[in-house]
Amino acid sequence: MARSVIPIGPWHPLQEEPEFFTLTVDGETVVDIDVSIGYNHRGIEKLSERKTFDQSTFVIERICGICSTSHPFAYTRAVEDIIPVEVPERAKYIRTIVAEGERVHSHLLWFGLAGHFLGYNTVYHWVWKLREEILDVLEILTGNRNNYAMFKPGGVRRDINADDIPLVVKKIDSIVPTLDRLKKAVLDDPVLHARLKGIGILTKEEAIDYCALGPTSRASGVAKDVRKDAPYGAYDRVDWDMIVTENGDVFDKVVVRILEVYESIKIMKTCLSKLPAGEIDLNIKDIPPGEGIGAHEAPRGETFHYVRSDGTNRPARHKVRAPTFMNLPSYRATVIGETISDATIILAAIDPCYCCTERMAVRDDRGRKILGGPDLVRLSQEKTKKLANKMGLQ
């Protein structure tokens, strides 16, 4: 092992040895890449078997911070699939509102981080300032900035009271103008075009072969979205369109995510205006033995929950599959052959839970560590500066 200890990752430095991505490099291009995950493994599936169906929602909510609605949404749909039972109308609308609010907050978070990886720190601070608005909206509606504790098998735990809605709609509207300016500033920026177009391409065939999901596969032309294909919640009562682009490079993944934020805002506002009155919870008393499958379109792709119940009040087996589990292996197709300075942004393009992208390191063939996470981010930022100078803008 290299004697000098190079801690890696500005935000999540772990010791140099347990990288998340290990890129084997020859010269500038990446030859091979390996990943070692498991730093966040907390045995949630085994824990969920200890808890009752109602309590298990809270374990599931803490799988990932930026999709803490997607997993309970899919889990509650899986439990409702066992019985099978239909959730009351108002609960469907509330679920959709909270899920779309979380999609906005998750995409903005990724958008800011991608900006940082490219050296656009103003974009990072600007977007995260914008993100505080949507976090306030979610705090008003659900009582906490994230980990919303809104979902329950058979409905929703809390109601949205009517006198909060005007303030919420005002805050949501305040996002759109700033986002327009951001979109124009980023998407028309020639440096970003040169920097992001044509790198880390995931072709349509590879996306299908790796069974990639969500924005990662929609950027490669795979037109699949659980909200459109198997409509649930209030998604079929609101008109919105699915964003699909063709050439699957990092630039398209940025475009897909930004346009999806606009769609989510449109869904939230229509749902808030058309919120029907009525029950919000079915008060499910017992769950018959059987199996249930539930899915939800999380910000990063489809979360899939398989629940098997043996008639008791605790799940007998609970299989959780997060979208990043299917998107992550696709790094073999996108990173190999690219230069090291592009590696950071390509790996971040599938939007894995972001504390994973911070743990990167580059080794030479004898396994000696030569570059750490911050060096990789610095390399990526230098390349942007070089491109900007070349184009005579800086």
């Binding site: 200890v5 801690p7 990752g9 500005p10 935000w11 999540h12 430095p13 772990l14 010791q15 040895e17 347990p18 498991g38 730093y39 966040n40 493994h41 907390r42 045995g43 949630i44 085994k46 824990l47 200890r50 809270f58 374990v59 803490r62 799988i63 990932c64 911070g65 930026i66 803490s68 978070l109 800011g112 990072y124 601070h125 995260w128 300032k129 505080e132 900035r145 994230n146 980990n147 839970c353 972001y354 504390c355 911050p374």
Partner: protein
Amino acid sequence: MSITLNALLKSPWVFHLSTGSCNNCDIEVLDCLTPRFDIERFGMLLTGSIKHADVLLVTGSCNRKSANRLKVLYDQAPKPCVVIAIGECSLSRGMFIHSYNCPVPLDKIIPVDAYIPGCPPKPEAIIAGAVKLIQKVRGK
């Protein structure tokens, strides 16, 4: 000992470490850096390396893979080093007390000076906790 710590805490450099967390608390720590809460007003700067860190912000429920790395990293931190545990997972592993991959709570691995409960704690709670700790160390 407390003189150096007292001097260090004039502008504490913060180093954030996630040991198997759902990254909600990590996002709240990052929120402290962004324009709305901006802890750089108090001289708190996020450093990239453990060598420059005075305050170690730990989040996450120390699962097996992260736990021994956490120990090694704590030994590398220049002493005196203040440890702040953020979020229920790093206090008592919160929801994951019975997880087969999270054997012991954080304060059994490294000595912890301040605990900030919350799931996730509000950025204001993190700032208030840090300020309270600094006043306590200064008060000594």
